[in-house]
Symmetry: C2
Subunit: 218 residues, 2 copies
Amino acid sequence: MFTLAEENYLKAIFHLENDYGAGVSTNAIADKMDTRASSVTDMIQKLADKKVISYQKYKGASLTKKGKSIAVNIIRKHRLWEVFLVEKLDFQWDEVHEIAEQLEHIKSDELIQRLDLFLEYPDFDPHGDPIPDRNGYIKPTEKKLLSKLKKNQRGICVGVKESSATFLQYLDTRKIGIGSSITVIDKEEFDQSMTILVSNKQFFITKKIAENLYLKTI
Amino acid sequence: MFTLAEENYLKAIFHLENDYGAGVSTNAIADKMDTRASSVTDMIQKLADKKVISYQKYKGASLTKKGKSIAVNIIRKHRLWEVFLVEKLDFQWDEVHEIAEQLEHIKSDELIQRLDLFLEYPDFDPHGDPIPDRNGYIKPTEKKLLSKLKKNQRGICVGVKESSATFLQYLDTRKIGIGSSITVIDKEEFDQSMTILVSNKQFFITKKIAENLYLKTI
DNA sequence: TTTATTTTTTAGCCTTATCTAAATTTAAAG
DNA sequence: CTTTAAATTTAGATAAGGCTAAAAAATAAA
C-alpha cells in the first residue's frame, strides 16, 4: 500500500515523463510538487526501494511498469471523480481539480468500478483528458495544440493542457470550451500571438494561451 | 485545519460522550481507536491546546462547542457518503462503512452541500442513523433498543447500533432490515435472550443482538 | 582542460503520530 | 488508613515526510 505522499510523487513523475520524456530530474519533480530537491531525493530513494521507479544517483527517475500502473490508476480515479463532480453535482469545470486531488486517494477498487458504471463509462474528463480504463489503457487521441496551427486552419477544441481555475475562467469569459470550433484568422510571426474566431467572435490570444488548448483539426 | 488523526479522535470522543455521557476516559478512547493510552494522552493534550476539547489531567476529556461542531460535521459527511454509496452506487449496507471512513475526511463544504442536494436531503443513513443538517442539528428520534422491550411488545426497526459488516450480514440472512416489523414472542429472564417474530418467521436471538437493534415502538 | 555554475545528494534537525517502559496519580480493597 | 491495583501520564524511541545548509557530482564556460 502506498501513502498519500508516495502516490502524489508517482503521479507527478508520470505527468513529467509524459510531457518531457523518460527520466525526470530531481529538480523537475521538486518544481512540480512545490517542495525541495532534498526532499525529492529522499522520496525517490524510497520509491526505488519499493520498485515503483528505477533510479540511479544523479541520473533521474523513471516509473517501472508497476509504478506506471499505480500512477495511471490514480489518474483514472481523479478524472472519474471530476466527471462525477461536473455531471452529477453541477460543479463548473474550473472548480473540480482541488476536490478531485483529494478524492483520487480514496482506496477502494469496488468504489471506482461502481462509480465508472454510474457515470456510464465516460471516455474524457471535463477538461478533455482521456480516462484510463480499468486496465490502465489510455485510448490514444489525435489532438494538436492550437499553437501548432497555421493561419486559416480550423479545429474543434477537445481539451486543455493546463487546468488551473484562472485559465479555465479566462476561457469561460470568452465562451471557449470543449466542443468550441476555433479558426485561426491570423498568426503573428514575431511573438506567435493569434487572432482566432470562436462562435462568430474574434479574439486576440497570446502564445501561452494557444499552447494550452488542444484541438482536433478538421 | 485539522489532521486526519485529529478528526478521528474528535469523532471517537463524540461517539463516546454520546453513548456513555460527558467526560470520556483515556482508556475508553484508546480502546475505541485501537491505540495505546499513552498515544491518547499526547493527542488529547494537543486537542486541548487547540480548544476543541476541555481536559484536565486524570479527569478525562469533553468536546467543547467548537470540537463538537467539527465532530458532527465529520459524522454528517460520513452518513451522506453512505447514502450516496447505497442509493447511487448500489452498495449493500454492510459494505459502505470503510469507504465512508475515508470519504468523511474530504475537505470541501461546497462538495457536501451539493452532495446533500443531489441525494435530496436525506434524513437517515442506510443504518438508520440521523444525518445532521448543515448547522449540525440532529433531529431527535424516539427509538428504543429491542433489548428494552417486554414480551408481546412490537416495533419497527429504525436503526442498528453497531454497524459492523458481520452484524449487518447476520441481519441480512434473517431478512431483518430498516423497516422490518419485530414482535417479541418470548423473553428469557435468565440471559435476556429473546424469541422474535419477523415477517412471519420466528428467530431466537441473544441479548447482544437485541442490544444492537433500534426500534420505534407502535 | 581547468574553472565556474548548476544540480543533486548527504547530514542534521523538526513535526506529527505512533510505540514501549517507567513513573505517577487515582481508585479499590483489606 | 495503608496497601494494592488500575488508570493515566511522562520519558525516550521510531518512522514518515519535510526543511536548511553544506558537500559532492555533473555540466557548462572560459
